[in-house]
Symmetry: C2
Amino acid sequence: MQRKIVRFVEEENLFYRDEKILVAVSGGVDSVVMLDLLCKMEVECGVAHCNFHLREEESDGDLEFVKNLAKAKNLAFYSVDFDTKKYAAENKISIEMAARDLRYNWFEQVREISGYKYVAVGHHADDVAETVLINLARGTGIHGLSGIKSKLGKIIRPLLPFPRKQLLEYAQAHSIHFREDRTNAETDYVRNKIRHQIMPVLEEINPAIRATMTENVQRFREVEQIYNRVIEQNRLHLVFTRENQLLISIPKLKELLAPVSHLYELLSLYGFHHRDIRNIAESINGISGKLFYSATHQLLRDREYFILSEITEENTKEYLISEDKEQLQAPLELTITLLDRTPGFQFPSDSKIACFDANQLQFPLKLRKWKEGDAFRPIGMKGKKKISDYFIDQKFSLQEKENTWLLLSGSKIVWVLGHRMDDRFKITDTTTKIYKINLI
Amino acid sequence: MQRKIVRFVEEENLFYRDEKILVAVSGGVDSVVMLDLLCKMEVECGVAHCNFHLREEESDGDLEFVKNLAKAKNLAFYSVDFDTKKYAAENKISIEMAARDLRYNWFEQVREISGYKYVAVGHHADDVAETVLINLARGTGIHGLSGIKSKLGKIIRPLLPFPRKQLLEYAQAHSIHFREDRTNAETDYVRNKIRHQIMPVLEEINPAIRATMTENVQRFREVEQIYNRVIEQNRLHLVFTRENQLLISIPKLKELLAPVSHLYELLSLYGFHHRDIRNIAESINGISGKLFYSATHQLLRDREYFILSEITEENTKEYLISEDKEQLQAPLELTITLLDRTPGFQFPSDSKIACFDANQLQFPLKLRKWKEGDAFRPIGMKGKKKISDYFIDQKFSLQEKENTWLLLSGSKIVWVLGHRMDDRFKITDTTTKIYKINLI
């Protein structure tokens, strides 16, 4: 086992022998064996222990145990107390997530301040298998199958090739004492179901299940590399940015072998989930105008592009209107009609209706509240007027101002809704198509 | 459910409504519901039932049940009896595999003879999830995760989107009778462990586990498509054939993002397993001369190429010797030395030693038994001589003939081992390097 860990450290390029390693030691068999192996490799180690205060007396016992272990080995010792439950409640996350956040943040602090090169954590082959199964059960693409990385930033995992059983055998063979680690048993419901109810059955099917899963993961990781490269190459052709928007070419998506995967990799960063993305992908072959929302972003299926933009606060939020749209429910109700210019065309006198020269409009149109600096050319006027000045002229109340919406084509104001059109978009003698909007 | 199956048939392009479908009906809930749904779609169906004779009275009861069902629905009925256990024993395969072979072969016969377009089988969403887990437990790459295809050749699977639970509910709601199918319970050990011990636990973690797994599989399938295309594109650059050999360029493999995956896809077709391929991949950065065997093929890590060739019967088997090889244990023991030609070079008189002009040799050399038609130029002679004539001249016994090995360079015989060299490879005044072989 000592030989195997040395080979693994070399193969995976985890660290050089003269680099200082901060070893995370809970007191459980994994971390205690890891510390022992690293010390036998004559690596300069420090010991870091977190007390999560999840099982009062036992937590304190763990602390005492690890402290003595560090002392016996003559190693620097660092410890910290966390109010894990409080942190979890405050951040509305699970105890498991809370413990993870707290632990890794603190490790990084100690590492940096005390001059360690890496933090070694005790994940092993059982964790790899369990993680794959957890991800499968929760829903995953290829990324969730490529297991746990042996090195990620400053975190290294030298025990990754070893199943827990082997660590226990090593501890026994070398009379290494450790604490029964029950943290997991209490905090991580899903992992425990997998560990205690599923893994033993898989082991009956395949006694070398952990090694097999580690091999599977190695294979998936190569597949993931190929996949990532293809996605990355195609991203360059698919996507460009315009102002604050991300535009994804629909014709180019259609040509791709795996459009859903590409959309997923592009959009999951913006809070869209797999199911949203299935729906978005279906709209590729549908009509334009459909809108999709994540918690932070909206995506419009426009004619040639999916247009992604951030959802900001209500006052600065923009609603896109694609060319095919015939009706809008939110943020305000209106109908849209595209008409041919007929000789007897009468401009409606209703302030709720506006008609524009369709050829002057650039789609998608935008609907938003007014903001400081907005200016337009009120119909019939030659010069520009600030919207704020227009409001003053019209003696708008504060509430009227706040409730006023603007329709924009590109960055130009087309209509102060229900009030005044812009001169640049009016019907002229050369107009052939009329774009008529009716506020309801 | 009726609407969903219609949509699935359309989306996956399973069949047109006017095409005749042979429906595989075991009598279990899956196949009986499938038959009901297809009949409601007004598809012209025939019913095919296999009696595997695995549980005597029950098997007969199933037959009776399905026969009556077909009669009641006024459908053509086909049935067959298999001696599954005998077939399994004869072909040294599991009962499960035997049943599958027999069933699919017979379905295809009936389909073709009786003019059906497709055979519909009752795999459903539970089978998809189970298959993924079985493959993971046994060891798999991406291919084992992409689930069960809804259409493969003439086999279609219209129930794939539905979990078994939904089929049971449908049967109950429509008062559809079915037989308790216990075939699986008795024949398929692994599938049953997954079905009865693992799936229920996963369901506790994620109540929609079957839908989630179906989604996972959709995602993996896209990843697989991307992966397949990349492998296929690179195959063209990596591989060429020479005579009966497949050559894989080692320098080009080294340039690839995922060499192990490429080797796997190239070599798994020839009976190499994943672990063999890990070893082969490791030899990329090692020295040449290493040989790897599958049940049917050998792979030589030569200098620039991996050379794949078939292992034929012992008498026609070829053993490759790469340029760096210094020793051979099988099929016979010999040592190889590369020498500089020195002025005082003495040609050894031992018949067990032969010396050749190294520059005349084309690597890898081949070692094999003689065969009809072989001919060479015995050293000192101008003309060609058939090996069979040489044997007659030398008064070889049958056994001596059978035990005689030939060393070849390309298709030319270099040495009749222990007997006579070929004139074309002898040491001449222009020889600078000598290739010396010593039989032990």
